[in-house]
């Protein structure tokens, strides 16, 4: 047992900040993918012909029933086996993006169904096509109503992005592991990393609260 000494951390500040930066980049990119694909999956499940909807539903079911870590291994090694030579960073972003797309799709599907039928009837009777009705009336309302739930997913995404360190992406956890391999001070560095995640989380939560308030006001 050695004493704790947090003075070992500051010399690695630069590496840790790079880690924070990459964690933010990862989270934001994966969040965009998870939103776009969330909308696509939700629409496919609800409106596409069975031949397309069924495989997507099976995929969603598979990704909701298995751990993210396992999915990351599948995507990282699986894409390689299929002949796509992609860097770990891309595999990590795809993995996180798809995993949370599935959860967003589940929320959005419920949100779309919950939009009043009168909205569809109104839009259709004004002469909007089926796609236009979805594009301009139904999806925007569904997205707005599900912002709090998808915001929760985003908070989970930020924390779960730590998992991609396992496939070797140089984000925050990985940065800490680098420092630990030189200093043999896991406790100090992991506590520091935890504090950094906590702060990122606070920032994200404050941001989401503002978005939610704006949505409330514009209603």
């Amino acid at each position: 047992m050695q004493g704790l000494d947090f003075s070992v951390v500051p010399p690695y500040a630069e590496i840790l900040w790079m880690g924070v930066w990459w964690t933010v980049v990862l989270t934001v990119t994966a969040a965009v993918i998870s939103f776009v694909f969330g909308v696509v999956f939700a629409l496919v499940v609800l409106y596409a012909p069975k031949t397309i909807a069924l495989p997507v539903r099976a995929f969603m079911w598979l990704f909701m029933g298995t751990p993210l870590l396992l999915q990351l291994f599948l995507i990282y090694y699986g894409l390689g086996q299929l002949g796509f030579k992609i860097p770990a960073l891309v595999a990590g972003i795809i993995g996180l993006g798809l995993h949370f797309a599935v959860y967003n799709a589940d929320i959005l599907r419920a949100g779309i169904v919950a939009v009043d039928v009168g909205q569809t009837e109104g839009a259709r009777s004004l002469g909007f096509g089926r796609f236009q009705t979805l594009r301009y009336f139904i999806v925007p309302q569904a997205v707005r109503n599900t912002i709090p739930a998808m915001g929760n997913n985003l908070i989970v995404l930020l924390k779960e992005s730590s998992l991609v360190s396992i496939i070797g992406i140089a984000e925050l956890v990985h940065a800490a592991q680098l420092a630990i391999s030189e200093t043999f001070r896991p406790f100090e560095f992991y506590i520091t990393v935890a504090a950094l995640y906590y702060m990122l989380n606070l920032v994200l939560e404050a941001g989401l609260r503002r978005v939610e308030q704006n949505v409330e006001v514009s209603r």
Partner: protein, 215 residues
């Protein structure tokens, strides 16, 4: 698809699945104990206890579970805590899920109508009796679903302990993907077992929920 590989590795995966089940069950038990204590602390009349409860929930929900496991397993020895991987995994997962479950329990207790407490207090029940005989029995019913959701999340979250070298399903899958270069087959085997476990947990939650549902 290489089915002979699936056949060959399957027994090892079943064994690993049992470890996943054991880890999940033990951390669920620990998590429930922690959750009740933390929920009680958060709703107690003593300010220090309330601060402790809030801080616990906030810290454990505000940082990644992976980091919590790393602090405990890799950082623990520095402060005199030497744990086997399995023990560190169970304690880490239990402390983490406890924070989430505490909120589920608190939510259920708070959604019991205030009138129930007021009525019980006014006919002479003490605070403890009110909680024990009036509020908790009604809240118990409301917390089954949210706790069940947490239990399912815990099964999937238990994959994290593979990173501190507990030989459970995900660890086994990773090892075989590395040695066979057949990620799809191996993922398939592990996925089937995970979904089987998740399905059974969900069914059990359903049964409990139906047993205690208001007719």
């Amino acid at each position: 698809m290489d089915f002979s590989l699936v056949q060959r590795v399957f027994p090892f995966f079943v064994e690993a699945a049992w470890i996943t089940i054991e880890i999940s069950a033990l951390s669920l038990a620990l998590g429930l104990i922690v959750a009740f204590l933390v929920a009680a602390a958060k709703m107690s009349r003593s300010l220090p206890l309330r601060i402790f409860g809030s801080a616990y929930v906030s810290l454990f929900r505000g940082t990644p579970c992976l980091i919590q496991l790393f602090v405990l397993y890799f950082g623990g020895p520095q402060i005199g805590i030497n744990l086997e991987p399995c023990a560190a995994g169970v304690i880490g997962l239990g402390l983490n899920i406890g924070a989430y479950m505490a909120e589920a329990i608190r939510g259920a207790i708070l959604s019991v109508d205030r009138g129930q407490t007021e009525a019980a207090r006014s006919i002479g029940f003490s605070r403890f009796q009110t909680m024990r005989k009036v509020v908790l029995p009604q809240a118990a019913r409301l917390m089954i679903r949210p706790l069940g959701v947490n239990a399912v999340a815990l099964v999937k979250g238990s994959a994290l302990v593979s990173t501190i070298s507990v030989v459970e399903l995900t660890y086994t899958a990773q090892r075989y993907i590395g040695s066979t270069y057949k990620p799809f087959e191996i993922f398939g085997v592990a996925a089937v077992l995970y979904m089987l476990i998740v399905y059974v947990v969900a069914r059990i939650v359903d049964l409990i929920d139906r047993r205690y549902a208001i007719a």
